[in-house]
Symmetry: C2
Subunit: 407 residues, 2 copies
């Protein structure tokens, strides 16, 4: 048993906000307040920048109702940051932590945050300052290694599934006017978010939206894509495409960059276009089909009513668990999610070394993507389905009993 | 009392789908099945095109559960259309209606649909065929005259309010990186949808998103807009803008067209850009602030979980009422929504002549827009608030008790 470590705790949020990163914050705060080893519970304003600037707040003084309400509040209530730290910064961080008697360091974020936390942990150890530093996973991108999935993903997946289902119903109804709909999802290198669109299909029917899914893990051959679209159109009269903003063409260039290269502004500068915007123009130009795009942007990660209850519970638990583990003596680890069974869905937490998490990125594995590179597999659907919480609400499908013609 | 009119009923959906146009369909079908005067209940596939092609379905054969489920199913289950009718088309329509013994004609749509329904009604009368034709209002744009508001608007308003609230929380958290967020809402001439963003403000605090609102009813003076943005940024460190896709500059040109004029594609053709895309580029260029846009597109009108319960109930009721009125002898009218009181919100239905509805467009009145042209008034908030159903769920706001500096 490690010695009991008495001291204050600090928690911060880093990187892009999610629908549930505040649930992890609630988990940290509510758990920390239970432990007599922990004195004050501080929050960093705007992540590690708050430590550098010594802008700390006392979370213990917030009303318990406010902390409870964090569970259902999207975005990062402490403020977030994207900050590349220098060696000098790390010295300053340790100075601030020591000045405030902080012995517990909790950082909610992705692999950059894991790296930051690992370095702070190492530096504290090297200088003989006992500090227990833990990482708490967070990213809508779902690209952290050593964890089955990432808090934040289930909720963005739920949004994407419902949005694409709606777009499918919409385009089916008015496809005579707006024939092709492209929905651009977030994701620079990994297609996890875009792939979740497949959960939109009504009763799993592959003829319901999305008909085609393109992720960065598979290069897009434009002639093949156009052929795919034409075939769906010929069969159904409309087509809905889920496209990752990070999708790349045959040459490995981002579609958005390719689109950009088409454009020159009035000053003669080449401008980047969005991937979906570009794809719509190619489809209109080559297939002569009217194509429109939706780009939900940050809305996809931030819709309060699209929180997945599973995601909220997991996000809360990884926060609370990080505190429990640190109090019990663990340091230098990130709490992970471990899937125990799929049906019924059961999970528990595990641990991964921060250094390992920091240096890895998990793209979609081959078994989750079809050979043609335009769809996901059943294995992916089985993986993603439990993470969005309850199934999407049912929708009516008319049988359409035709009336015999008389006129 | 008019004579009892026995015959079949037909119902169709027209124009852009909404989150609740199927609730109106459910209202028509369930009400029609109650009346012994009405024989079969038919649906037009893809609106009036279904009549022209004689593609009719027998809605009475659908399961009652399916009809009930229509209430919570976004989009247009019968399929929609945008069809300009010729004189010859009207003759054909009457031929088909007569061939199928149709005496009740129910058309769910906007002012084009009101025009179509009015003409069919007139032609039937001129040719001595007794037909009771009723319009049922539908448009997310909320721009029909003679009705307090339009079914479909409350749900898109709810989506917009929640999306902009999320975008505000997101930008507040990560504004150090992505400083200005522009959210582009639908609306060609009327700013109703964009204005609903104002319902996002947390506890009505004008320092929460949206900070600025630009609608087509007020021309944008770009220097003034940039000054507005700079001031918000100086005060808060970030800025969220609700922008209508139909926003126009001082010269009266669409921002999107102005944006387009900046661009020339590789074939030398000028390309239209989106309004938000363009505005982001201007802000980045002139204010040197990083600006990103979200363009939810058709997602905003089609999100199942964003249905406003008030909107669903009203949409259902205008459908059912149209049938009741027709059975009772009314023809050539659209059912309207009449507000009786605001707090508590109470409403009833009324009637407007289809000809009157067909030829009017209701833009936002002056009392709903502030003098500066960058915000809505309290009068608008009072008007729009009841239409989204329950208030948005609460969100946590930390008090942020600062810890005294020590390092």
């Amino acid at each position: 048993m490690p010695d009991t470590l008495k001291g204050n705790l600090i928690v911060g949020q880093s990187g892009g906000p999610t629908a549930v990163i505040n649930a992890s914050l609630a988990g940290v705060v509510q758990e920390a307040l239970k432990h007599s080893e922990i004195g004050s519970v501080y929050g960093m304003l705007h992540g590690i920048e708050g430590v550098l600037k010594e802008e700390l707040i006392d979370l213990g003084k917030e009303s318990p109702d406010t902390i409870e309400l964090l569970k259902q509040t999207p975005s990062a209530a402490l403020g977030s940051c994207r900050h590349k730290l220098t060696d000098k910064d790390y010295d300053r961080i340790l100075t601030v932590l020591k000045a405030h008697g902080i012995r517990y360091f909790m950082y909610i974020g992705g692999n950059d945050s894991a790296d930051t936390t690992a370095r702070i942990s190492r530096l504290a150890q090297e200088t003989g300052y006992e500090l227990r530093a833990m990482g708490i996973p967070k990213t809508i991108d779902n690209d952290l290694a050593f964890t089955d999935h990432c808090p934040g993903y289930g909720s963005v997946a739920r949004f994407v599934a419902e949005a694409v289902r709606g777009a499918g119903l919409d385009t089916e109804a008015i496809g005579v006017v707006d024939t092709v709909k492209v929905i651009e999802m977030m994701g620079r290198n990994a297609g996890w978010i875009t792939a979740a669109a497949a959960l939109a299909r009504i009763d799993g029917d592959p003829d319901t939206a999305p008909h085609l899914i393109y992720v960065p893990e598979r290069r897009i051959v434009m002639d093949k894509l156009l052929d795919d679209v034409q075939k769906v159109y010929d069969r159904l009269g409309y087509c809905v495409i889920a496209l990752c903003e990070g999708a790349r063409g045959e040459d490995g260039d981002l579609l958005s960059a390719t689109g950009g290269a088409l454009y020159t502004d009035s000053f003669g500068h080449k401008q980047l276009g969005g991937a979906a915007d570009y794809l719509c123009r190619v489809i209109a130009d080559r297939l002569k089909l009217k194509a429109r795009f939706d780009k939900p942007g940050t809305i996809q990660r931030m819709m309060q009513s699209q929180q997945s209850p599973v995601d909220v519970e997991e996000a809360y638990t990884v926060g609370a668990t990080a505190v429990q583990k640190a109090v019990a003596g663990t340091s230098g680890y990130m709490v992970t999610l471990v899937r125990q069974s799929n049906d019924p869905y059961r999970w528990t937490t595990g641990l991964a070394r921060l250094e390992d998490v920091a240096n890895a990125e998990r793209l979609m594995p081959d078994e989750f993507l079809n050979a043609e590179g335009n769809n996901v597999t059943q294995a992916f659907l089985d993986y993603a389905r439990p993470l969005i919480g309850p199934p999407l609400p049912p929708v009516a499908r008319l049988k359409k009993y035709m009336v015999a013609k008389k006129a």
